[in-house]
């Protein structure tokens, strides 16, 4: 275990990708764009000393989708790399080539939000029923269950 990363150190190393801010004593968030995110993650793995992906979190704020890649290393600081994706064209490059565990998180996000990950080896349904309609993404803010659709081969009538 090494010492915690400081904001200046991280800001210096990652300044070509975006601004860094210290949101908590052991968490630093860097905002960048979808085109540069794979380079940012590679840089974090190489020079910031991160060696592991914790998870990929998503949020829907009404206008865009936000993705957070949380990385950590022996320095015990969580480096969160945040990007925003437009709602009408939700696409981003897959990280499963650089970070192996990203594959499973991206499949889950694709099922629930409909974000397309280019270059992913196999975006099959993992968490929703295979009979779920292909264009309905439950965790989007504007999704409501349609009473006329069959979900999973079952239509349950309720008033």
């Amino acid at each position: 275990m090494t010492a915690l990363l400081t904001l200046d150190y991280v800001a210096e190393k990652m300044k070509e990708f975006g601004t860094a801010e210290q949101v908590r004593s052991n968490r630093i968030r860097i905002r960048t764009t979808p085109e540069r995110v794979s380079n940012a993650i590679q840089k974090a793995l190489d020079s910031l000393g991160c060696d592991r992906l914790i998870t990929i979190s998503t949020a829907d704020n009404g206008t865009t989708f936000e993705l957070f890649y949380h990385l950590i290393g022996p320095h015990r600081t969580v480096v969160s790399i945040a990007i925003e994706i437009p709602r009408d064209q939700p696409e981003v490059i897959s990280m499963s080539g650089i970070l192996s565990p990203a594959g499973i998180y991206e499949r889950q996000i694709h099922d629930l939000f409909g974000i397309m990950f280019r270059g992913h080896p196999g975006l099959k349904k993992i968490i929703l029923n295979e009979d779920w309609p292909a264009d309905e993404f439950p965790l989007r803010k504007d999704w409501k269950k349609n009473p006329d659709t069959y979900y999973g081969g079952i239509k349950v009538e309720r008033t």
Partner: protein, 388 residues
Amino acid sequence: MPIGPHHPALKEPVNFRVIADGEKIVRLELDLSYNHRGIEKAAEQRDFIRVLPLLERVCGICSHSHSSAFAKGIEEIMQIEIPPRAQYIRTIIAELERMHSHLLWLGVAAHEIGFNTLFMWTWRDRELVQDTLEEMSGNRVHYGMNEVGGVRCDLTPHQVSTALERLPFLEERIYQYVDMVNAQQTLLLRFKGVGKLTREEVLKYGAVGPTARASGVDYDARRDDPYFVYTEVPWNVVTDTNGDVYGRTCVRIGELRESASIVRYCLENLPEGPVRVNAPKIAPEGEIFSRYEAPRGELAHFIRTNGTNKVERVDIRTPTLANWTSVAMCLVDQNLADIPVIVAAIDPCLSCTSRITLISTPGRKPGIVTFDELRKRGQTYCQEQGPP
């Protein structure tokens, strides 16, 4: 072959397709949809009092972990400090939950290799932990102790003393399990060398919890991102260098010992004071990434609030999901007979009721095998092979 146990133990529905070549496994694919319920969406419509029982029921075995991770995240966004007595009580319940989960796992792993005596013994000892939890909280599972702002109810001196009386018996039984794991031939034969993961593989595939600590990777969210009273209580992180199922067993038994000593320290040094503070009904806008060490590994809650009395987004990453990639990778080139043991070794917290379909090399017909038959097949295979 889709694997789906329909057996009395380890009742989780998961379906993963194993593509096998004779007895060796070639590839593994995963399908988790049996247990998906849509909790994250429903949590956005419940206020902070109603969302905690829902989040507790994400998993029945680590229920306190989910509600604690959420409650501590919301308390940090609201910037309130909970009183020390509440922190001690939360730690006691968390460590008791870790003990009951590891004892459960030990029994289930023993059942997988046919060692039913150990199954019965560990579950009988687990009843002592359940009795303690029931006295303190009122329920054997799903304790419901957490509230935003502290703990729901207090511990009476009688409860503290009865819990302290039970601890020596438990500690003695744990020592017996240590001896058993080192001496029993059945265990050693089925556990050693099986499902081995090196340190680099663990980091590459993102494994967490005892699975990672058994390969020497020294991550533990209780030490790296401390919460509750883990900075005040003397305790150690248990690691091992074996990296196989035997190593994971040793790590879990070591953690049982550590948990027992943490519980003893907390019960003996419980500070006086209130057990909750009045939390505001509305949380300010904010975002927090709350990490917690559940019995199975590191649990991550990403919480975002928007200034109302409901949460805007809670994104839950369970430790079992993080461990599945490493299971898929370490099952390649292993024997079919070892599937139950390796899957059980990461301690899955999904519900597995899939049925196993064997798809051998292309050209042969698939057949359906139940997990019971696979387990028996594994046991006869090892008996035929003989001791190494």
